[in-house]
């Protein structure tokens, strides 16, 4: 449906085909984890977009939780901090 709306707004010089949009949607589907959408299935674009929104929100929540966790860990003594930084370089 949105592809039809997009098409009606195109000038002749910037025609975006349904195929291009389907291609982009399947690329998006490929980035989603297996648990969200079974990549072998051909799902509707609407479903892919919906799962993408859910996935982004869960990633944001993970960043929040990990930030809190790291904040706790940084509270500890400075000798541990050297260890934390060092552990990154391994």
């Amino acid at each position: 449906m949105s592809s039809r709306r997009t098409r009606s707004r195109q000038s002749s010089s910037t025609r975006i085909t349904d195929e291009q949009i389907n291609d982009l949607v399947s690329k998006l589907q490929a980035v989603l984890p297996e648990a969200r959408i079974r990549r072998s299935d051909r799902v509707s674009a609407a479903k892919v977009l919906q799962e993408t929104c859910n996935y982004i929100r869960s990633l944001h929540r993970e960043v929040d939780g990990l930030s809190e966790r790291l904040s706790e860990l940084l509270e500890e003594s400075s000798s541990d901090q050297a260890a934390i930084i060092r552990s990154l370089l391994m």
Partner: protein, 144 residues
């Protein structure tokens, strides 16, 4: 880190630098303040290492700099930016939802939105894995 590619290494480098800065300047602050600074550091280093090619990274850096200039290190800079016209509590889906969730999404055409979203998700998941491994290593070190 297993199989690091150049992009993840840059993200790790920038985030580690930001973490050191937070530790140097905020170890006496409250845990909540430090947590929010770490959260901003995560998004900033992620956007910075993604580079200026991407609309989402440019938009994210603009948003973070605006928030920093107003000296509002409050939680909610992400929620407020995504809220739009008083719809913060409504769960949006589809293309409209993506426009709210992906930085800079509001001004993009549909195709760019799809492309930017895929790249944003890739960088976000790298950032999450990075923070996960730091937190796990740090927990291990703490147990020694």
């Amino acid at each position: 880190m297993e199989n690091p590619n150049p992009k993840s290494l840059m993200a790790a480098f920038h985030f580690q630098r930001a973490l050191s800065l937070v530790h140097r300047t905020a170890s006496k602050s409250s845990r909540a303040v430090r947590g929010r600074r770490i959260q901003c550091a995560a998004y900033a280093s992620m956007a910075y290492s993604a580079g200026p090619r991407r609309a989402w990274s440019r938009a994210l850096l603009r948003r973070l700099r605006r928030a920093a200039r107003r000296r509002q290190p409050r939680a909610g800079w992400r929620r407020r930016a995504a809220a739009g016209a008083g719809a913060a509590s409504r769960v949006a889906t589809g293309a409209a939802g993506l426009r709210r969730l992906v930085p800079g999404g509001g001004g993009m055409d549909y195709c760019s939105l799809l492309e930017e979203t895929a790249d944003y998700i890739k960088c976000l998941s790298v950032q999450v894995k990075l923070m996960q491994s730091i937190a796990d290593s740090a927990s291990l070190c703490g147990q020694l």
